[in-house]
């Protein structure tokens, strides 16, 4: 059965008639087949299992990220923001944003950009008349975020709870909101957001094609899709070292730090299951995005995929 897993998973992704065939073989009630790590499960089972993984890890999520990646995940997320290069006034939808890492970085980024903007303005306006100066106090010109906003959407209550607590703790409130929602069925109107991000989340979505279609729908024309996710390492030596680290060290860390071997076993397996760079690129193009491209970080351990709604 294990040997058939990749085949079944492939069928599940192709969808349509093949999906129905798979379903009828297993029994219609069970639904289409997909994977949970290296196991074969129904879509419904997968969603439930993944929900429980994140419910379980939520409180230790950040600590585990730091331990497993030796803090490097922070750099990956910084690079994502740098690539996004948001200007003040940007509307960001961060999906699977759980504990807020991307949202907080976004707020910091636009805040700095806004400060620089205001400083430049002041430099150029040294010769304002008193009239102009008094007018500027009345206008709400000095909003620190300049109308930028980020909506964090996640399917998991526990992750959002942790995120909200973090925000309170770190003093983030303006321009930030939280929504419990499903990436495959977003509760947002069409053509609303300038940027859509999904960082280390798309791997856990059961129907990636639906999530990509929804991403396309909610973005404004000209809007950008950015996905930061674990990907495939082509270098054979590095790949072996990575495998060793993933399968020998990470679940142990999971047990020691979070008391949860199984969730981290899932994590490691799900990375191996996830489509490699070119395949994900094709899926993003299928959803209607243009100028789709990807950038490997750390030789493909992680990749940032980008696309535009034109």
């Amino acid at each position: 059965a294990a040997g058939l897993c990749p085949y079944r998973a492939l069928l599940a992704r192709r969808g349509g008639a093949l999906r129905a065939l798979c379903g009828s073989v297993r029994g219609l009630a069970a639904g289409p087949e997909t994977h949970f790590g290296f196991q074969t499960v129904t879509e419904a089972e997968r969603r439930e299992k993944i929900y429980h993984v994140f419910e379980s890890v939520a409180k230790k999520y950040d600590v585990m990220n730091d331990s497993m990646t030796l803090g490097i995940h922070r750099v990956w997320k910084d690079i994502l923001l740098h690539k996004m290069n948001p200007s003040p006034g940007t509307l960001l939808l961060d999906v699977a944003g759980g504990t807020g890492d991307i949202a907080f970085r976004f707020i910091n980024y636009v805040r700095s950009a806004r400060e620089r903007q205001l400083q430049r303005k002041l430099k150029h306006h040294q010769n304002l008349s008193w009239q102009e100066i008094s007018e500027s106090y009345q206008e709400d010109k000095f909003k620190s975020l300049g109308d930028s906003q980020v909506v964090v959407c996640d399917i998991n209550k526990e992750m959002l709870k942790v995120g909200k607590q973090k925000a309170q703790h770190l003093g983030y409130s303006e321009g930030l909101s939280w929504v419990l929602g499903n990436a495959e069925e977003l509760p947002f109107d069409d053509d609303k957001f300038d940027v859509y991000t999904i960082a280390f989340g798309i791997r856990n979505v059961t129907r990636i094609d639906l999530a990509l279609q929804e991403a396309y729908r909610v973005l404004k024309p000209g809007g950008r899709f950015l996905c930061l996710e674990f990907s495939h390492v082509s270098n054979p030596l590095l790949s072996r070292l990575y495998d060793l680290y993933s399968f020998q060290v990470i679940p142990v860390l999971g047990e020691v730090i979070a008391g949860d071997w199984k969730s981290y076993q899932y994590l490691v397996e799900s990375i191996r299951r996830f489509p490699p760079q070119e395949e994900l690129k094709a899926m993003i193009e299928d959803a209607g995005f243009f100028k789709v491209d990807y950038q490997n970080l750390n030789s493909g351990i992680v990749a940032i995929h980008s696309g535009f709604k034109l």
Partner: protein
């Protein structure tokens, strides 16, 4: 379903969210009902709860507003 944490004052919804939020099923606008702290889709007759200021926009979590037998009790996702 109630979280039962006993938070007396329901946290209000972030007002700016109403610009973006729609029903995930029909993608149609919602009405904010202050009395019950819910977002109502009149057409489909469903209400999404707001818990601790966070709107729960998962269809399985919504309740029907019409006087029908409730939708099959699918567990919280």
């Amino acid at each position: 379903s109630g979280s039962g944490l006993g938070s007396g004052r329901p946290q209000p919804l972030e007002p700016s969210l109403l610009r973006f939020l729609v029903c995930p099923l029909s993608k149609r606008p919602l009405r904010y009902e202050e009395a019950t702290n819910e977002l109502i889709n009149e057409e489909l007759g469903i209400a999404y709860p707001i818990i601790d200021g966070i709107p729960n926009m998962i269809p399985e979590a919504a309740r029907t507003t019409r006087k029908k037998p409730p939708a099959e009790g699918s567990k919280q996702p």
